[in-house]
């Protein structure tokens, strides 16, 4: 089972900490899993750095959960290699992989108390009874449920169940943590709170964490890096910022944030929208289907007509939606394409939003103008 490791305590404090150097890197190579004609995972390779918080982000059926299950050992791939640190584990059964895991449904054992649940992995590892009680309480305190040991599972709220599940997954100090959409069953307020708590927990314990979610905002909030997954392949692996600012393709650009896309074309060394050359930043992807990604919050509504040095789009407002803290402006460009723009409601705007039918000038700064490969992936 798990080798004994030095545990670090500040005197009087029972919470867990793990040195970052103990966390393991994960090396995923050429993992393929097919179910009949369907490619659930298509030659996936990925390196997860030691101590990193990496999120697998994608829509349902993208393969993200399948990949997590391969990491845990519940799904056997057709081929591939999986290494935790230097150990090849691809053929190891789940109970020997020594990873902590939380499930979407929490999977807490209803016939045991909270302490019974959290102590389960320690009992399996033949930890002496007295030590179990101490470590269980430590884990519970780490998730802010100190003293809850005697509660029954059906007495807990959703958020509490979630924490118990985490406590159970970390009590035996695994060096890798896998989380399968742990927050999807919680309401929004709780979810936002838990996102921050889980992030803090990660910083405190330092274990390599692979996190699965379909919620892009959640991924952006919590991750060191995000792997966007679709059709069993990794679309892009980057930091949240790079993912948002420089998406590699249309799918990623569409999945993260809200955008509209304008078809643009090349003319010699220029990139043009219609006849107008664009001022842009970043690279021009080599693709027959070049598109301009328009993030609603990066578009500005000019009160004074075209702005010098920026990209200007004269348009006709078709829909204006007041949303309290912001407003949405749907506008139709001269060639018929639509843009969506989001602006803050402040000062003048509060009383004078444009009306449908108004002629407006929308502008984008060159730094905000990003070109992407518009092909379907």
């Amino acid at each position: 089972m798990a080798p004994a490791r030095a545990r670090h305590h500040t005197p009087g404090d029972h919470t867990l900490t793990t040195q970052a150097t103990e966390a393991l890197p994960i090396s995923i190579s050429n993992i393929t899993k097919t179910y009949g004609p369907v490619n659930a995972l298509d030659d996936v390779s990925l390196e997860v750095k030691s101590g990193e918080f990496l999120t697998l982000l994608g829509p349902s059926g993208s393969g993200k959960t399948t990949l997590l299950m391969v990491l845990a050992g519940f799904t056997r791939p057709d081929c591939g290699s999986l290494k935790f640190g230097d150990d090849e584990v691809i053929r190891k059964p789940p109970h020997l992989r020594d990873v902590g895991m939380t499930f979407q449904s929490y999977a807490l054992f209803p016939h045991m108390t909270v302490a019974g649940n959290v102590g389960y992995p320690l009992r399996l590892r033949k930890v002496p009874k007295s030590e179990i009680a101490e470590r269980v309480e430590g884990a519970l305190e780490t998730v802010q449920l100190g003293g809850y040991g005697d509660r029954r599972i059906d007495q807990l709220s959703g958020g509490q169940k979630q924490r118990v599940a985490v406590a159970r997954a970390i009590v035996f100090e695994p060096r890798i943590l896998l989380m399968d959409e742990p927050l999807s069953a919680l309401d929004k307020k709780l979810r936002d709170q838990m996102q921050i708590e889980l992030r803090h927990l990660h910083e405190q314990l330092g274990m390599t964490t692979v996190y699965v979610t379909h919620d892009q905002r959640e991924a952006l909030t919590m991750s060191d890096r995000i792997a966007v997954v679709n059709h069993g392949r990794i679309m892009q692996l980057s930091t949240p910022r790079d993912l948002y600012e420089r998406p590699a393709n249309r799918f990623v650009a569409d999945f993260i944030g809200e955008s509209t896309f304008l078809a643009v074309n090349r003319a010699g060394t220029d990139v043009r929208y219609g006849e107008t050359p664009l001022r842009y930043s970043g690279d021009v992807p080599d693709t027959p289907d070049l598109q301009l990604m328009i993030r609603p919050e990066r578009v500005l509504l000019s009160d004074t007509g075209p702005v010098e040095g920026a990209n200007n789009f004269p348009a006709t407002a078709s829909d204006v939606v007041y949303q309290g803290d912001s407003f949405l402006l749907h506008a139709r460009l001269q060639d018929g394409q639509q843009i969506v723009m989001r602006g803050a409601v402040r000062g003048d705007r509060a009383t004078s939003l444009p009306e449908p039918g108004d002629q407006v000038t929308l502008t984008m700064a060159p730094e905000d103008t990003v070109l992407i490969d518009g092909r379907e992936v």
Partner: protein, 296 residues
């Protein structure tokens, strides 16, 4: 080769997968082995024996006998009669009872359910015996009926078809009621409200909305009753008084009295095939798990 390098561990993983699947499937092997040895092989042997004639060689005489001899045909007809009548009576009596139960609040419905299940858990023999006693000439039924003035002379309601049917219906009712009741409980009450709202009077609402939704459960229950009746032995043997001879009884007497394995096994094979054909027809309309769980 480049291709093998890109598919690492493929052989090993495949072996692991196979082993695991085998191990899990192997958990069911004791059960399958038992069924194979005690059931499948002997029945297969009986199938074989049915084609062996009196002279020890291959012959169809056992099957011919069933078609030619009037007594055998009568036995099959009787068996069908009893099965159809029992199933029909169970539907007529069981459906209203199930409906009644489904309309009760949960507490009362559960009490009624226990009442229905109580005989179910009691030994078949005990129940058959009880009816034997109740239906005799000096039995309770005759006594009370005469006291109430329903008839003057004690009626012969046992050791004949009447007694057999009464006993069979009593035994089979729970088998019909349970799936039907299950189907009824599963019907969303809103359907009936909608029907009323759209203009249906209670009778129309029942026949056009409620009843059709219960047909899977009714079908499953009736099917189970019918199949059970076909092969039934104890109750007709005791309550029929020798006048109601079902296929199962003939098979038993063929072995016990005449040691005629050929005849017995042929009849058994026919009974089995009838059962399988009926099940197959039913599977066109119901999935197998619906039959075992009562239509839902």
């Amino acid at each position: 080769m480049a291709t093998t390098a890109l598919r690492p561990n493929e052989a090993g993983l495949r072996t692991d997968g196979r082993l695991e699947r085998l191990r899990l499937f192997g958990l069911s092997s004791p059960a399958m082995l038992l069924i194979l040895i005690i059931l499948v092989i002997p029945v297969g042997w009986l199938f074989y024996v049915s084609f062996i004639g009196a002279n020890g060689e291959f012959s169809l005489e056992n099957y011919e006998r069933m078609i030619k001899r009037k007594s055998y045909m009568r036995i099959f007809i009787t068996t069908f009669q009893v099965s159809v009548l029992t199933t029909g009576l169970c539907i007529l009596i069981g459906y209203p009872l199930a409906y009644f139960m489904s309309q009760l609040p949960n507490r009362l419905a559960n009490i009624c359910l226990i009442t229905v299940l109580l005989p179910f858990w009691t030994s078949l023999l005990v129940r058959t015996y009880a009816w034997l006693v109740l239906l005799q000439k000096q039995g309770l039924v005759n006594q009370w009926a005469m006291n109430l003035g329903l008839w003057d002379e004690p009626l012969k309601i046992v050791h004949n078809m009447t007694g057999t049917l009464i006993g069979m219906v009593h035994i089979m009712l729970p088998f019909l009621i349970l799936p039907v009741y299950g189907a009824m409980k599963a019907i969303d009450r809103d359907y009936l409200k909608a029907a009323s709202n759209l203009g249906a009077n209670p009778r129309t609402a029942f026949w056009t909305v409620f009843f059709p939704l219960t047909t899977p459960g009714l079908f499953a229950g009736a099917l189970m009753v019918f199949i059970l009746c076909l092969g039934f032995f104890v109750t007709p043997a005791v309550l029929g008084g020798g006048k109601v001879i079902m296929v199962s009884m003939k098979i038993v007497s063929n072995i016990e009295l005449f040691v005629n394995w050929g005849a017995a096994s042929a009849m058994g094979v026919v009974l089995l095939i009838m059962t399988l054909v009926i099940l197959w027809i039913a599977s066109r309309f119901l999935r197998l798990d619906q039959i075992t769980s009562g239509g839902h």
